[in-house]
């Protein structure tokens, strides 16, 4: 048994743009591939909650789909529980799907509106041909519902998804993933559609389940503040690349990459006295298209600290700062020093 449950090595996913018939003959309109995920490597440890942070267009959702094997990688390797799972046959894939489950952003959309809660929870059992009589299955469903604190389970089993609140739906979605005793969960923005008042409740529930069952999570989000509370380690993604990776507290209290700094600056804090201040964000414009990734450091077009070197020199690799804290900025320390001088 290794310490690492999921290991991703130099994973890439390029989407080839659609070409019409005429274009493919003439070779005209040759479009560049969309580099959604462009060479990322990270490890998730057993029993760890790993956060993947980024804006929309950063490739975090594509990474989630790659891990779920809903799409095939262009290149690179994936190891799960010590086994190479980069390309899997039909049988192996089914086995993998049993071990790795997914919670989606919109709990309502992730359930067939014509399925009752019972049917929703029974589906994984049917798909994976979990043997057992109706009573045994019902027992498993009840158990899963209890696990996510939907009590009394009998009452919930007969309901339709539209009869539940957002939080309850996400609990059902969690129960659906737990019913097959997975080893890892991929949670793609599981609370972003849920009311703030219940967001914490769901995260709390997910954390309890994780502790109880010793699960590993890949938590994909754009929300740093829940990530800090929820995750052990965080990787920050920008345009298909990981720019910084480390322990959640280190990343937020001591961000080294200018992009991470900008992300943190942008988070609103519920405190008074900010009315007349126009927040100076250390970032320009908006995220470029992944079909057109800038030369050099891919962040230089938006970076206020970018120099000529950042534009011309090849992209910086992730380098170690302190224990478990890596960053991909060649000017990280200079910028830090500059900032200190400025106060």
């Amino acid at each position: 048994m290794t310490d690492t449950i999921l290991s991703i090595k130099n994973l890439k996913k390029y989407f080839e743009p659609h070409q019409n018939f005429a274009q493919s003959i003439t070779g005209g309109g040759q479009k560049k591939p969309i580099k959604a995920v462009d060479d990322i490597s990270f490890d998730i440890r057993r029993g760890e909650i790993f956060g993947l942070i980024g804006e929309s267009g950063s490739g975090k959702t594509t990474t989630g789909k790659l891990v779920m094997k809903l799409i095939e990688p262009t290149s690179g390797q994936m190891f799960f529980d010590g086994e190479d799972v980069t390309h899997l046959g039909k049988e192996k894939l089914k086995e993998y799907r049993r071990k790795v489950q997914m919670i989606f952003q919109d709990p309502y959309a992730s359930m067939n509106p014509r399925f009752k809660i019972r049917d929703v929870l029974e589906e994984p059992l049917i798909i994976h041909k979990v043997k057992g009589s109706i009573e045994e299955r019902t027992k498993m469903i009840v158990q899963a519902l209890e696990e996510v604190k939907l009590i009394p389970p009998d009452e919930f089993m007969g309901r339709w998804p539209h009869m539940l609140s957002g939080g309850q739906r996400q609990r059902v979605a969690t129960a659906r993933t737990l019913i097959l005793n997975p080893m890892m969960l991929v949670a793609d923005e599981p609370v972003s559609m849920i009311d703030l008042s219940t967001r914490a409740e769901i995260l709390h529930m997910m954390k309890e389940v994780q502790k109880e069952l010793g699960l590993s999570y890949l938590y994909i989000t754009h929300d740093l503040s829940t990530a800090r509370y929820f995750t052990d380690r965080i990787a920050v993604m920008y345009l298909g690349r990981i720019v910084e990776i480390g322990r959640a507290d280190d990343i937020i209290d001591n961000p080294l990459h200018p992009y991470t700094q900008a992300l943190i600056e942008a988070v609103p804090e519920p405190a008074s006295g900010k009315l007349d201040i126009v927040k100076e964000l250390p970032i320009y414009g908006e995220i470029p298209s992944p079909a057109n990734i800038p030369q050099g450091c891919r962040f230089h077009t938006r970076c206020p600290y970018a120099t000529e070197a950042c534009k011309r020199e090849p992209e910086p690799e992730l380098s170690l700062d302190s224990a478990e804290h890596y960053h991909a900025c060649r000017r990280a320390y200079e910028v830090q020093a500059e900032k200190k001088r400025a106060g």
């Binding site: 008042s197 219940t198 967001r199 914490a200 709390h204 503040s225 937020i252 804090e269 519920p270 908006e286």
Partner: protein, 323 residues
Amino acid sequence: MDSLLKVENLQMHYFTSKGAVRAIDDINFELMPGETIGLVGESGCGKTSLGTSILRMPTPPGRYVGGRILVDGVDVIPLPEREVRKNVRWQKISMVFQGAMNCLTPVYTIGRQMMETLNEHSDLSRSDAESLITEYLGYVGLPPEIVQRYPHELSGGMKQRAVIATALFLKPEIVILDEPTTALDVIVQAQIINLLKKLKKQFSLSFMFITHDLALEAEISDRICVMYAGKIVELGTNAQIYGTQGPAHPYTERLLAATPRLFKKVEQLQFIPGTPPDLIDPPKGCRFSPRCDKAFDKCFQEEPPLIEIEPGHMSACWLHRRG
């Protein structure tokens, strides 16, 4: 100073087959010139309903049941629709609807869609309208070429900027912003908030900023109006709500505690158990009482009035009377 907008005892119910949903139940507040008032609350508490009601276009099957909406001293509820369209909507009050940026028609260019709004509410000539559009695109930080672009060619932030520009065309005094940043990334959200602050000064606008995110309200709203189950439970200045003293109403308090903070590492985030009540048959007494951990006998019996607990700070909770 006279208020721009005064809402008095406003009641708006949705008449459904199951009964009347009391989405807005006796709401009173004023909006001063140049002020931003923030409306917060969980989903389903009546924030958006209040927004559309003030624009005098309640979503069917909603109907006004009582109260007045005074815009510059004139009650707009009894006005005929033609009059509202000519003199009130978009001229005095405009609105950025929730998810408006995702409701742009994919088959028309941005410019054409902006033009349509202009035509509906004014009778400018084509060239005048075009120059107006270019002018306002400049104000929201978009290049004029954008008029020839289709919605799918723009990012979420750019679309939201275009929507905001559209809301400002006819120089309204009040702009209702319904969750203008919810679907956006944090960085874009911060950029939009900065833009709104700039526009507010530039055009001396008053905003009604609707969101469920208390942290966001702290950035932009002069006064915060907390709604729960169709009623205002607390209304206070930014300093009163977010200051060291903290909010007065238990609901606001718990909502604030449930808002995750980036720089405060906590072991356990707070949350409010349960869900907002059914507004067809709201609970007796204080509507928050079933979910409130501080509730006592009286809370379940009688509805607390909205009282002034300090100058400019209103709250509806029996705890204030208890001392």
